[in-house]
């Protein structure tokens, strides 16, 4: 399966052609994919914000933004600019240092997690061996940022919102990790590349969603809860808590929260598509198409075709899930805090544990279907 474009290798060879040492070439290469992914994440947020506005408008039989650009596509940029030039207010009795550090601590782990999101065989920043585990570990830092901003705001609604957010994040992390563990059990690897490759045997039929339907649903519910999307947006339930931990924030610091929550939503959608929907895989295996066209699998045309189809498929699947998340937000009511914790601890946790156990049993019984 070692086909696909290796851009890093070609780039390094290209720079070596100018007489640079391989180390210097590597250093020049390093920031490029990071910047690219950062830009991709921010553009993804802009698209998601626009989608959110348009879909919510459609759900409520409104028109939504329409004056800023065609169909209002420039509306998210206008939103962003507004937040950028707004006055940055720190409340008089707030704790300045923690107040500033909170939003950063919320945003940075989310962006770091993009390290492991693959858009193709070699199209990711780093194929670290611990792969998906890195995401689980990084997402556990977020509650600290939430607690920090809730505490530093010196406002009881903020503190309550921060505590709620952290409690929610901690409770839903466990079923989330357990359903990821079932996938890892089937793949024998933590690496996201291996997880996708293991699903690429027979196109759509070999996707993990057919083998892990329960895990898929548990993961999706938990991902929504981790992103604080409605039905689970208790931390910022505006009718009860004004805006939760974000109450006192304005300007760019609020924008960091906003950005963080949307980047997290896209990241979760991408990870669902990687773990359960075959990642960059086309519903029909590319090998079959290549055979049909009578081309060898490593022909340059097929390589470029595979890479572009990989990116398109990953993004398409992710945005399909984002669409479902937005529809859910505008059609479902919010759960109460006790219902939320009951769902997490009394329903999702036992179900994901049972799912893990059954997966392990099935792996022993049918190693050819559930990973040997």
């Amino acid at each position: 399966m070692e086909y696909g474009l290796d851009l890093e290798y070609s780039f390094n060879e290209f720079l070596k052609g100018f007489g640079l040492s391989s180390e210097i070439a590597h250093i020049i290469w390093l920031p490029l994919p990071m910047l690219l992914v950062l830009v991709a994440a921010v553009v993804g947020v802009l698209v998601t914000v626009w989608l959110e506005r348009k879909i919510s408008a459609a759900a409520q039989q409104r028109i939504g933004p329409e004056y800023a650009g065609a169909l209002g596509v420039l509306q998210p940029i206008a939103d962003g600019l507004k937040l950028l030039v707004k006055e940055d207010i720190i409340p008089a009795k707030a704790d300045g240092i923690l107040f500033t550090a909170g939003p950063i601590l919320v945003l940075v782990p989310v962006i770091l997690s993009w390290l492991i999101v693959p858009f193709g065989q070699n199209l990711l920043i780093s194929n670290v061996g611990i792969g998906i585990f890195l995401w689980i570990a990084l997402s556990s830092i977020q509650p600290i940022g939430l607690l920090m901003s809730g505490y530093a705001s010196n406002n009881k609604y903020s503190l309550l919102g921060g505590l709620r957010a952290a409690a929610q994040s901690i409770s839903y992390e466990i079923p989330l990790a357990l359903s990821v563990l079932a996938i890892v059990l089937m793949t024998n690897s933590l690496s996201t590349i291996d997880i996708v490759n293991q699903q690429s045997g027979a196109g759509i039929l070999s996707w993990n969603i057919w083998r892990q339907p329960v895990g898929f649903i548990v993961f999706w519910i938990c991902a929504l809860a981790e992103c604080e999307r409605l039905p689970f947006d208790l931390p910022e339930a505006e009718e009860e808590l004004v805006a939760g931990y974000q109450t006192e924030y304005a300007g760019m610091k609020f924008a960091l929260f906003y950005l963080g929550s949307y980047i997290n939503l896209i990241l979760s959608a991408l990870l669902v598509s990687i773990l359960y929907l075959g990642g960059w895989g086309f519903p029909i295996p590319v090998e079959l198409i290549a055979k049909f066209l009578n081309l060898p699998i490593n022909a340059p045309f097929i390589e470029v075709f595979t890479a572009s189809i990989g990116i398109v498929m990953t993004v398409l699947k992710a945005y399909l899930l984002v669409f479902i998340a937005i529809l859910l937000r505008w059609t479902t009511p919010r759960v109460r805090i006790d219902q939320l914790l009951d769902l997490g601890w009394k329903f999702l946790l036992p179900i994901s544990l049972a799912n893990l156990l059954i997966t392990a049993g099935l792996k022993l019984a049918f190693p050819q279907f559930f990973g040997g």
């Binding site: 180390e23 210097i24 250093i27 923690l98 550090a101 670290v128 061996g129 611990i130 585990f133 890195l134 689980i136 570990a137 990084l138 556990s140 830092i141 509650p143 600290i144 607690l147 920090m148 809730g150 505490y151 503190l159 921060g162 505590l163 952290a166 409690a167 901690i170 992390e173 933590l190």
Partner: protein
């Protein structure tokens, strides 16, 4: 010196400085909230040190367990038990400080002795396992470290049951040290529906 080694040295210096200054801050700062958040920073930097040693799985586990669980719990506890209470002045503070300093210095000298006498260099640097370490850790946990692993889980279970017993005060309605009945104020009050009260 190659670029990789220079980067490593710079990272190591920054991480060690953060660990040292952060740990001092945890102990010396007046505000307990700052101490708790600094503790999280120290744990993160220790994870960074593990990363420098090519132990990425251990680093991620450190972040997950120490930052994501232990530190969050500490902060939670601080924020839920938000009791403003002036500490009583202690009479013999001077002798206490002398005793604690001497204990700390003894521990420090012990650690320095270990550092000086131990042979740190690996027999062959090629033996480092790097990314394979996850598999190795799993193998060890289920073979020669099976008993400690299981005992640790029993310990955690006991801690969990203990926490539940402490949290449910109807199980323990007497103060252990004084034998007096516990102040029942904090126990869940019999819930009255808010709306029916207003008639």
């Amino acid at each position: 010196m190659s670029i990789a080694i220079t980067t490593q040295i710079i990272c190591f210096t920054i991480l060690s400085l953060v660990i040292l200054i952060g740990a001092l801050g945890v102990v010396l700062l007046e505000s307990i909230v700052y101490s708790a958040f600094l503790l999280g920073g120290v744990f993160m930097s220790v994870a960074g040190l593990y990363l420098l040693l090519n132990a990425s799985f251990v680093a991620a586990a450190q972040v997950l367990v120490y930052v994501g669980a232990v530190n969050v719990l500490i902060i939670f506890a601080i924020m839920l038990v938000n009791k403003k209470e002036d500490l009583k002045p202690i009479n013999d503070i001077k002798s206490r400080r002398i005793i604690s300093t001497s204990i700390c210095l003894t521990l420090l000298s012990l650690l320095i002795r270990v550092d000086l006498t131990n042979v740190w260099s690996l027999s062959s640097p090629q033996n480092s396992i790097g990314e394979e370490s996850t598999i190795r850790i799993g193998e060890h946990l289920f073979s020669d470290y099976l008993l400690p692993f299981e005992v640790a889980s029993v310990l955690l279970l006991m801690a969990m049951i203990g926490a539940i017993v402490l949290a449910r005060r109807d199980v323990m309605n007497k103060d252990i040290s004084t034998g007096l009945p516990v102040d029942q104020e904090l126990i869940e009050k019999s819930s009255e529906p808010l709306l029916t009260n207003k008639n």
